[in-house]
């Protein structure tokens, strides 16, 4: 059992808030901040709802600090669902019984991580230091959002935390590995981002016509490994053909 987990259990649970998100969804909010304890509670409530479904709940969307519960008001009303969710949200966080751990290969720096040198300068370190610290991290998928497969990780080391870019880039490459604020990210599709780009992975966290279509689940553990740019190119070809590339580790 992780020391972090013991620390969470020792704290009294802050009350959750149930906020209406329109007429067909409820936000169960555990914190207003990026908060590891809150995210554990989000994921725990998500597991409970997957194990013991409530009739009328159509899908759930975990985020850092809240669980968005979509429902069909023709099956269950706001008051009845709120009551059930409020009770479930106050349950103690059970330990996650099965946690998957992935190792994701990353080609750092150069054309694949155009911000690595700037990050190193800002943090008074060498690019190799930054890579070593990023690879040493033990991350958890706190949420997947924004665009398909965009995985937001918690667990970024304090010394790597820095503000996001003032001017977000309109286009960043598919497979970008980046950091922003207290968060680390694995981006799947090309798209806009205001985070600092450290490298790229060939791993597709979302790929049509592959089983599974979505690789990572909220709650999965993630570590990174370093590959050279030639290996990245080989892995990228294999991934395009449907290989998963990420390694599932014994946890």
């Amino acid at each position: 059992m992780r020391p972090e987990f013991l620390r969470i259990m020792a704290q009294p649970l802050a009350p959750s808030r149930l906020l209406p998100s329109g007429d067909s969804a409820i936000t169960v909010e555990f914190s207003r901040n990026v908060d590891d304890a809150a995210n554990q509670r989000v994921l725990a409530l998500d597991r409970i709802l997957a194990r013991d479904p409530i009739a009328g709940v159509t899908e759930t969307v975990p985020t850092y600090r809240s669980l968005l519960v979509h429902y069909d008001p023709l099956v269950i009303g706001f008051d009845a669902l709120s009551e059930k969710l409020a009770a479930l949200a106050e349950l103690p966080v059970p330990p996650a019984t099965v946690t998957r751990r992935w190792r994701i290969p990353v080609a750092y720096g150069g054309e694949h991580g155009i911000d690595l040198e700037d990050v190193a300068k800002t943090l008074n370190a060498t690019p190799d230091d930054i890579v070593a610290r990023h690879v040493a991290g033990d991350y958890r998928v706190a949420m997947i959002g924004f665009t398909p497969g965009w995985s937001y990780l918690s667990g970024l080391e304090d010394s790597l935390q820095m503000p996001r870019l003032q001017n977000p880039r309109l286009l960043t490459p598919a497979g970008t590995i980046s950091i922003g604020g207290v968060q680390a990210g694995v981006q799947c599709l090309a798209g806009p981002s205001g985070w600092h780009l450290l490298g790229r992975t060939a791993v597709r966290t979302y790929q049509l016509h592959r089983e599974p279509t979505f690789l990572l689940e909220p709650g999965d553990r993630v570590t990174f490994s370093v590959v050279d740019h030639k290996t990245f190119a080989e892995q990228d070809r294999a991934a395009a053909a449907g290989e998963i590339i990420a390694e599932l580790m014994a946890s």
């Binding site: 007429d23 968005l68 023709l74 706001f78 959002g145």
Partner: protein, 351 residues
């Protein structure tokens, strides 16, 4: 098998259906038609299930040609001047294109999106049980992108059944109803009042992801950065510049700006149809009223087939006639050839 060839089409036009809910936890937004009622009405007219894939046509014009056989279609949603070889075609009515016929649509009037449903639907490969285009995610079929000239849709041969029209339920014209929250406590009472009391306009830079609103500037109590949480269709985010953005069908599944309110489900399609530049207001209601409105909306869609009417008789579709008469000249109600079709130069175009 017939084909429907796109001979010309404006931006923001794509194949859409009821969307693909169920994968928002992986960042995949459901997408789907902006106006579900209009999609359903067009589909019901040609005998399809209500959320069958159809062509969502954005504010600009389009023309489509039947090839290889006859194609039966129906139009609903934002009205436009429409004809087949200069013969006017009414909205909310089915019509069969003979092989080689071209259906020509002008700019949308009084709305933004029209739906062209095709008898038997559009042939394609469903992705997550949906043909709906989500260009950012590379999803949609037969083309995972907006339609463009030269595209061809494989469709069924027209069945030859009698054409129908539909008496649609009257659409409320009042303010767009919202439920406050989930982050209305990030705004002071004065700002919530300003939001509800102001007249708003939809900016021309809006798209299927989000509608930017122009009007008042809404200030936050504690700044505009919140930790990202989940979004829904109709979430009204307020970014740092104080100009709200209403999240639409192609929204990101999570967002990091406080959400002052949420458009109710029953009014989402009506909101989506408001043309850029036209003033409108919001009105806050309670949960019970919002959910009652949704039940009513769902019932309206389910009972659309009861509203189908034959059109061989002179059982006139007065609304369609009035609609065709916007230029103000006299018309003969019984001879469609005399209906005045205004030129597109006279119509107001959303810019």
């Amino acid at each position: 098998m017939s084909r429907l060839a796109v001979t010309s089409i404006g931006p923001a036009s794509s194949v859409q259906d009821g969307g693909r809910p169920g994968s928002q936890r992986y960042g995949l937004v459901p997408s789907g038609a902006m106006d579900h009622l209009a999609l359903a009405a067009a589909n019901v007219l040609v005998g399809n299930p209500p959320f069958t894939a159809a062509i969502e046509i954005g504010p600009f014009g389009a023309s489509l040609t039947a090839r290889g056989g006859a194609v039966r279609v129906a139009l609903s949603g934002a009205a436009r001047d429409t004809d087949i070889a200069k013969r006017p075609v009414a909205f909310d009515t089915s019509v069969t294109l003979a092989d080689g016929d071209t259906l020509t649509l002008g700019f949308a009037r009084g709305g933004s999106f029209s739906y062209l449903a095709i008898e038997g639907g559009v042939q394609g490969e469903p992705m997550f049980d949906s043909l709906a285009v989500n260009a950012r995610a590379g999803l949609g079929s037969p083309y995972p992108r907006p339609l463009q000239a030269g595209d061809e849709l494989q469709v069924a041969d027209a069945s030859g059944v009698a054409e129908r029209r539909i008496d649609l339920p009257s659409v409320a014209n009042g303010p767009i109803r919202v439920l406050l929250g989930p982050q209305d406590d990030e705004f002071g009472d004065d700002m919530k009042r300003l939001f509800l009391d102001s007249e708003w306009k939809i900016s021309a830079t809006s798209d299927r992801m989000g509608y930017r609103l122009e009007g008042a500037v809404i200030r936050h109590l504690h700044g505009h950065n919140i930790v990202s949480d989940g979004t829904v269709n109709g979430s009204i985010q307020v970014p740092g510049n104080g100009s709200p953005i209403v999240l639409m069908r192609d929204r990101g599944t999570s967002g990091g700006y406080p959400k002052i309110a949420t458009v109710i489900s029953a009014d989402f399609g009506r909101f989506a149809q408001i043309p850029a530049g036209r003033g409108f207001r919001f009105k806050a209601i309670g949960m019970a009223e919002a959910q009652a409105a949704l039940r009513n909306f769902v019932k309206e869609i389910a009972t659309l087939p009861d509203r189908l009417r034959d059109i061989e008789s002179f059982d006139l579709n007065l609304e369609a006639l009035q609609d065709a008469n916007v230029a103000g000249s006299a018309i003969s109600a019984v001879d469609a050839q005399t209906w005045q079709v205004p030129s597109s130069a006279e119509t107001v175009t959303p810019d």
